[in-house]
Symmetry: C2
Subunit: 229 residues, 2 copies
Amino acid sequence: MGSDNYASEGLMKVAVDAVVFSIIKGDLNILLITRKYPPFKGQCAIPGGFVRKEESLEAAAKRELTEETGVKDIYLKQIGAYGDVNRDPRGRVISIAFLALISPDHDLKATSDALDAKWYPIDELPKLAFDHGAIIKHALQDLRFEIQTTNIAHQILPKRFTLTQLQQLYESVLGKRLDKRNFRRRVLEMGVLKETSETFMEGAHRPAKLYVFREQKYAPLKERLQVFV
Amino acid sequence: MGSDNYASEGLMKVAVDAVVFSIIKGDLNILLITRKYPPFKGQCAIPGGFVRKEESLEAAAKRELTEETGVKDIYLKQIGAYGDVNRDPRGRVISIAFLALISPDHDLKATSDALDAKWYPIDELPKLAFDHGAIIKHALQDLRFEIQTTNIAHQILPKRFTLTQLQQLYESVLGKRLDKRNFRRRVLEMGVLKETSETFMEGAHRPAKLYVFREQKYAPLKERLQVFV
DNA sequence: CCAAAAGTGTTGGTTTTACACCCATGG
DNA sequence: CCATGGGTGTAAAACCAACACTTTTGG
């Protein structure tokens, strides 16, 4: 960083935006709000807002997400900064984007801003405000990488889950079918899961064993789950 | 992004910083400047500075790099935003970091700011200003990934190069030795190189074939060069 | 003819893929 | 006893890691 004229240079608006993914009926969805004021009034956008002086970028993203959608207590991973000169018609705004993968049963409260937050399947996204279309595209690439290299899956699954649920999650995120036997063998050999003594029963068939993640916080995996994209 | 009180919120300083890598005598080096003014006067830092109203983040990083070090015309890859509240003692500054891999024979001009830019081997880095130590650590991880998944190597190599030069580059970046036969087989099978009819001769031994990258611009590779870290 | 780096294949072990049937349960 | 999804093993193919000698040149 230069030492030159600190006072005048570089002042601009800094925002954060969150691309929040979930799986609904087997399809990957994204949480969007509808803008009630210009610019892009009536169009959809990913939730976000301006960073305050005294909060970190991640804290700002969490706060805005809660304010606009009611979603809280989730892990956000930074995916990059978007800073094209004309990305916001109001003036120069730099946005730092984050991604998350959460359970769809977080309550989407009607918010103070009267923005309504809704889930949209990723292959039926509406036209998006700002450069949010590009941000989402990058976020999806990033998510496909994340799910194979970290335990981010634990954010979306119930504490205890079946291997079939886990596999369906991977299939939805990666957008392709996986072989049941190979998937189970690999995920178990990696040692990131722990078998519980409980089972899950639903419908007229054999009950499924329930598993938990060994690491309950977001953490990188030792090896990559070699499923690729 | 919220629609609320656009005028007042989110205003802060935005900077860019560039972690520029090169190989000097087989060792991975980083380009640092010495700060001539407070804060962190006399300490080393990665080159960077504030973003101007009318330039993109990448353009700002390129401009600052040229101003401070003389290095120009290089590809910069964004690696993330650093926004901790107290990362800059002057006040709130968000910094967007970039990385590059360049040839060491870019001239390091004595700059207008009288900052001198010098190369430092990565295992002999001085104490660094701001959070630049952390930024460099992330940049190195990122570089090790980049070199296996993109043709970023073409930035540092001469247009035509030998396979031995390419292999030494990989070894320096990854910090480990690679098997000559396996390396050559894989890199050729990937099809990112094109053999030329020329050879390179130096010293009393068999001349080496010269190769060029098929893609002359930064581009992701179809497959990953499976060397890992 | 010596030194030096360029160039080149094979083998054994490991990993990955593809693939089909039996099990436990509720109705 | 039927329908449903849970659970399991194996063989062939692909891939990866380890390894040493011949070639071409200049001095």
